[in-house]
Amino acid sequence: MTPFLKTIRWILWKDLVIELRCRETIASMVFFALIVILIFSFSFSMDQQAAHDVLAGMIWVAFAFTGMIGLGKSFSAELQNDCLEALQMAPVSRGTLYLGKVAANFAFMFVVEILLFPMFVILFNVDVVEDLSLLLVVFSLATAGLAAVGTLFAALTVHIRAREVMLPILLLPMVVPVMIAAVEATKGALNGDPLSLYRPWLELLAIFDVVFTIVSFWMFDFVMDA
């Protein structure tokens, strides 16, 4: 394995070990998402039918806000004892650090999404299509997009005083395309529509992922380096 991949693996390892030890990021993300759903259903007084129409939207609003919690934590956890400084002084390219963090964030977000989806199915009485594999593709493409931009922005906001709020403020407008495409593609996949109907959305997601991973990879240098 190249040193490049090794470093990425070590960063992933570190985040996973800490998560396995404290089990708080994933648990709290799932829990938070449940409460968001609950509050939505009260505030929008949704009956089952109305809920069905906006299900995909609700799923992605919940995922986005939940993901933001994970993203925020992934860098704020580095503030304990100024560990972030140590990362900044590490003799590896900033891009490596970026990819390591993206991998960890993607892993957390994806696991949480997989745990949450059944709850949506039950609470809103969705008729699930047989073939979930397309849905998984949609989830992973959209999550990758959120993680790619989100990781960069989490690093960017971590030293800002009002960090908890700056992350959503900066990130959400940026990922509007991801949100729209994810909602539309999820609708299609949930309805069992033929792939051709929502394929453009998947392509949009894929393009977004590639473009923003590359751009963020370069930009990370300027975010992390003094």
């Binding site: 089990r23 708080e24 007084s45 949704m46 009956d47 809103f124 009485n125």
Partner: protein, 242 residues
């Protein structure tokens, strides 16, 4: 190190409670499953009620105990009370979750849906969330003392909130949906009542029994921790002196 007197009492009575639970549940299940007629409307499906309803009652009872215990803990600051509260919370959460689960299993054939935003279901869900929040605080806070205090505060606030939540959800429901689906107004035939009562008593006894066991467990765990610390201390002292 003497065993706490509460624990000694618990150990004396837990056999009786466990026996009572077994007895009531056996009788109740017999009456419910075999000894009572099927429901006029729902047929055999109704029998799940004998589990579902007692579970729900017991969970509520548990929450009441939790709130009382928490207030008591804040007053006395006796760790054993905290152990009891912690145990009650975990059990109540389990019972609440099971009530919801059995309800869902019941709801599928009866209402043809797993879930509906009915007032009682919703307020029970909120209750479950509060209990899970309580348990989460207890795992996230390292300091035992702090965890106990924070937990107690949460439990008391939640208990005060419960009736308000219930009323608000109920009003909200009546405002938004005609009562097409509701658990209200099912008059229970007297033939169904007896097994229900027996099952409820049995379930409460089972809850108490599990509570006794779990409280002891948590208490002994705490003792063990203290003991470990003391042994470590002695070990190091002896090493230092030699």
């Amino acid at each position: 190190m003497t065993i706490h007197r509460v624990i000694r009492h618990v150990q004396r009575y837990q056999g009786w409670v466990g026996g009572g639970a077994a007895l009531c549940l056996t009788v109740g299940l017999y009456l419910g499953l075999l000894g009572s007629p099927p429901d006029y409307y729902q047929g055999e499906v109704v029998r799940i009620m004998y589990i579902h309803v007692p579970l729900a009652h017991t969970a509520l009872l548990g929450y009441t105990v939790l709130a009382g215990g928490s207030a008591w803990y804040l007053w006395k600051r006796d760790p054993i009370i905290d152990n009891m509260c912690h145990a009650v919370a975990a059990l109540s959460a389990c019972f609440t979750a099971l009530a919801l689960l059995t309800g869902m299993i019941w709801g599928k054939p009866t209402w043809d849906t797993w879930w509906t935003w009915d007032a009682r279901l919703t307020s029970f869900t909120v209750l479950l969330l509060i209990l899970l929040g309580y348990l989460m605080v207890r795992t996230v806070v390292d300091d035992l003392d702090k965890a106990a205090r924070y937990g107690a505060v949460l439990a008391i606030l939640g208990f005060v909130d419960l009736p308000i939540i219930h009323f608000s959800v109920e009003w909200w429901r009546t405002l938004h949906q005609p009562q097409s689906i509701s658990m209200r107004g099912v008059s229970i035939a007297s033939g169904l009542l007896a097994p229900l009562v027996v099952m409820s008593v049995g379930m409460s006894l089972l809850f108490s029994y599990m509570l006794m066991i779990r409280t002891q467990l948590l208490y002994l765990n705490r003792l063990l921790d203290a003991k470990k610390g003391r042994l470590l201390h002695q070990f190091h002292m002896s090493k230092a002196d030699s």
